[in-house]
């Protein structure tokens, strides 16, 4: 197991290094630069380039960046002039993380319940309802979901605050808006996998042994069916926890997603790079945890990994 984890760790670090290199090059290939503005003169631009070390050869800038990265220093933002990228992430990530956890708890728990209910009631009314919910969750984009929730529950009926992230009440609407997609995804996966498991011989065996149907469902079916859901959790967790631009905008949440999108528009190289590395590391770690969990749950994978 230890070997397996070390191997996974090595691959993860290599992935991040490749990611940094690719993004470092790509961001500079984008037309324009961070200092392009409608009132920029060549003299002032030269001062700015010198200040940020852009006058040095690209390869030197790359190694400087890597060196600083090893020290955990992501550099200063070019738009938010006195702020370090570390500080920006430190300030904004907790909000995205908090919202992400809430939406995951919402999405996964309801998704599992819906998926299991649908599978147990295959072809019946409840199954149909869960399909409709899943279709809505998959096909309605989050900005529409967010705007609708905000309009009806916030403005029209006044049940929840329209925006900001100040307390529990403020978190409900955005968490639902973000978590709905996860809910749909999990419920569909769970349903499909439940239906597959139900045809397995061990279920028939369990049933023929006379075990109560509750026990069969609970002990044999769900436990075996949950595997595919764990698989998708890695990327979903990383994506949801690092912030969603649209929902953060709609509900005025000072999270990370907004910075990420705006920094691309602003060509703020430091934030784009810093957040990509952060997000990448997060994704890689989440996937790694899933892989390890997978290995724990299913010995066959562990053996194949050796």
């Amino acid at each position: 197991m230890g070997k397996y984890i070390i191997k996974r760790l090595g691959i993860s670090l290599a992935t991040i290094l490749v990611l940094v290199t690719v993004v470092f090059i790509l961001v500079r290939l984008m037309p324009g630069d961070p200092f392009t503005s409608d009132k920029m003169t060549p003299e002032i631009k030269a001062n700015l380039e010198k200040y940020y070390g852009f006058d040095k050869p690209l390869i030197e800038q790359y190694f400087t960046y890597l060196k600083n990265l090893l020290k955990g220093d992501l550099g200063y933002s070019m738009k938010y002039k006195n702020q370090t990228v570390n500080k920006i992430i430190e300030d904004s990530f907790p909000f995205s993380f908090d919202l992400g956890i809430r939406s995951l708890v919402f999405g996964i728990s309801f998704g599992l319940v819906f998926g299991i209910t649908a599978a147990l009631n295959r072809g019946k009314k409840l199954d149909f309802i869960s399909i409709v919910i899943a279709i809505i969750g998959t096909s309605v984009p989050d900005f529409i979901m967010g705007a609708l929730l905000q309009y009806f529950f916030g403005i029209k009926w006044g049940l929840f605050p329209v925006a900001q992230y100040l307390g529990f009440k403020h978190t409900i609407l955005p968490a639902i808006a973000v978590g709905f997609y996860t809910l749909a995804q999990v419920s569909r996966l769970m349903r499909a996998s439940m239906l597959e498991v139900v045809q397995q011989d061990y279920i028939k065996t369990a049933k023929s042994k006379g075990i109560s149907s509750f026990r069969v469902t609970y002990k044999h079916q769900i436990r075996n069916a949950i595997m595919p859901v764990v698989t998708v959790l890695g990327p979903t967790v990383a994506a949801v926890l690092t912030g969603t631009f649209v929902i953060e905008s709609i509900f005025a949440i000072p999270g990370m997603g907004k910075f990420y999108v705006q920094s691309v528009q602003n060509l703020d190289y430091s934030i784009v790079l810093g957040m990509t590395v952060f997000y990448g590391a997060f994704l890689v770690i989440a996937n790694m945890i899933v892989d390890i969990l997978y290995g724990l749950i299913d010995p066959r994978i562990r053996i194949a990994g050796k």
């Binding site: 940020y52 738009k79 905008s249």
Partner: protein, 554 residues
């Protein structure tokens, strides 16, 4: 055995879910605590505090006075710093200076400072002003906004490009309370610029103490304006509080100003409706629901088309440029593009900037092209242009219209394309690129026509006219006119206010008669303001809101 393993792993999965959930608890606890002490709707009156609340679509990028480069940050800067003078929506008031003298040639200004203090109790000295301006000009500071002084203060250009040391800048602290500023040219509007944060005093000791982190947080700087920053939660909220050390604190009524970051303009409107904001701008899409409640103001932004006249495009023909200018029906354009939120513009200079005594537009009324367009004239000029270019079919003239990739700019470009093609029969293609790329292409002169704009930096026609002189770094259209350069030069050197203004008007006329630009629209904002808020003012240069003297009716 297998079952036990499965059970263990299942427990692990559940444990992970819960531990992740547990991780989150410390964070919400913080915002939740805040809920209780955060002033909510109407709480302002309950606590007896006078609070004014507005929102920004993005947090202010910096509070470093010399590094400020956006209107929202300069607006905050105006309220947390006090310059030598204050420009209260066009009315010049004394700031840290209690009087000033001007030399006969209009080049040397001597300011006498009052006894005023920084927020930490330190006295404000002439040296603080000297240091602030030196820091602005210093190439090592790399301020985007250094351009504001490079053609204004003596030697500022040479200091900024590294030819001279900062000590050579034409700013001298004669003693603790006397400051002398030497200009390159006699500049009447200089006094009106002194409340811009870039000109404000700066504490050398604090800049040196914090280095690049100076002003990164509320406690990493000092203030000398009507307000100080009480709390700055980046990209969330900026809370200003009345400065007890401000020399004119009796004139300040507000206890606090809350500036919230609300990225979505529709959300901001919803928050205003819920009583969570006191002022909000209404987006054009929903303006019709509020037409009876809003008041309008211009933020100074002036949109026009830049035309490439360097010879590579057919637009080198003056007649073609005029043909396009006459072909446009700007009234229809505004109606279709912004539902009449913006105002059609048929001249170049914002009419609201200061003329000799009154507004420039009032003193020099002018309409270069009829607002509804003139089809006959447009065709006449097109004919002349076709002869000049040796073209027999207007379709052979193909122009590319460059614009940004936003939805609004797409609509604008399509309307313009349609109008030009319908009236003139020439071909117009649209090219959309990201904003930064558009700017880059403008300065690289890789365009034929581009929808662009200008925001004034001071209230004088010169802020617009300096763009189009032959040597201007912003003259991306390669406009070249001796007459124009001559008028602008007179505007710089002539000290007689009336003659000077006449020359500037002649420059504007020359520019438009040459069809060097295609004026389009003046940006107007529709604002909802809490009726209890008194004394809130909007402005169009350097800042957009002035809430220094705002009072809240209880």
């Amino acid at each position: 055995m297998k079952n036990i393993k499965k059970l263990v792993s299942l427990i692990l999965v559940v444990a992970m879910c819960f531990s992740l959930a547990a991780c989150s608890t410390p964070k919400p606890a913080e915002p939740e605590e805040k809920e209780t002490n955060e002033p909510k709707e109407n709480e302002a009156t309950e606590t007896g505090k006078k609070i004014f609340r507005y929102s920004l679509t993005a947090d202010v990028p910096t509070l470093d006075p010399q590094l400020m480069n956006s209107i929202p940050s300069s607006t905050v800067g105006y309220h947390i710093f006090d310059g030598l003078m204050r420009n209260h929506v066009g009315e010049i008031q004394y700031g840290v200076a209690e009087k000033y003298d001007v030399s006969e040639d209009g080049l040397v200004y001597t300011f006498h400072l009052r006894d005023a203090k920084w927020s930490d109790g330190e006295p404000i000295t002439a040296g603080d002003f000297e240091y602030g301006l030196q820091r602005l000009a210093d190439p090592a500071t790399a301020s985007d906004y250094a351009f504001i002084i490079t053609s204004l203060i003596k030697n500022a250009d040479k200091v900024n490009n590294g030819e001279l040391p900062v000590e050579e800048l034409g700013v001298k602290a004669i003693d603790e309370k006397t400051l002398q500023i030497e200009l390159q040219n006699p500049t009447g509007y200089f006094i009106s610029m002194l409340s811009m944060p870039q000109f404000c005093p700066t504490r050398k000791d604090l800049v040196e103490k914090y280095g690049q982190e100076y002003s990164a947080d509320a406690d990493k700087m000092a203030y000398n304006g009507p307000f100080i920053v009480k709390e700055w939660k980046h990209e969330d909220r900026l809370i200003l509080e009345k400065n007890p050390n401000y020399w004119n604190k009796d004139a300040i009524n507000l206890d606090e100003v809350h500036i919230l970051t609300v990225a979505d303009p529709m959300t901001a409107v919803a928050m205003y409706e819920q009583g969570e904001l006191d002022q909000v701008n209404v987006p054009a899409e929903v303006l019709e629901n509020y037409t009876d409640k809003v008041s309008y103001y211009f933020d100074g932004a002036n949109d026009f088309m830049k035309l490439n006249m360097d010879g590579s495009s057919e637009l080198k023909s003056k007649d073609l440029r005029l043909a396009v200018n006459y072909a446009l029906n700007r009234e229809d354009f505004i109606l279709l593009a912004t539902k009449n939120l913006y105002q059609p513009n048929t001249r170049y200079i914002l009419p609201q900037v200061k003329g000799v005594d009154k507004d420039y537009g009032e003193e020099y009324p002018y309409e270069a092209f009829p607002v509804k367009g003139d089809e006959a004239k447009a065709k006449e000029h097109l004919q002349a242009a076709m002869t000049e270019l040796g073209v027999s079919d207007p379709k052979e003239i193909e122009l590319e219209l460059l614009t940004t990739d936003a939805e609004r700019t797409r609509t604008e470009a399509e309307i313009l394309q349609n109008q030009i093609q319908t009236v003139l029969g020439i071909t117009v293609t649209i090219r959309q690129v990201p904003y930064k790329q558009r700017l880059q292409m403008e300065s690289d002169r890789e365009f034929e026509m581009v929808v662009t704009g200008w925001v004034p930096d001071y209230s004088d026609p010169m802020t617009y006219l300096e763009l189009w002189t032959t040597n201007s770094p912003y003259n991306h259209g390669s406009y070249k006119s001796e007459a124009y350069d001559g008028y602008v030069k007179e505007g710089i050197t002539n000290t007689d206010p009336k003659q000077r203004m006449d020359a500037l008007f002649n420059a504007e006329k020359t520019l438009l008669e040459d069809g060097a630009i295609i004026p389009l629209q003046l940006r107007r904002n529709a604002m909802l303001l809490n009726p209890k808020v008194k004394g809130f003012e909007t402005y169009f240069v350097g800042l957009n809101y002035d809430y220094m003297y705002v009072d809240i009716e209880q």
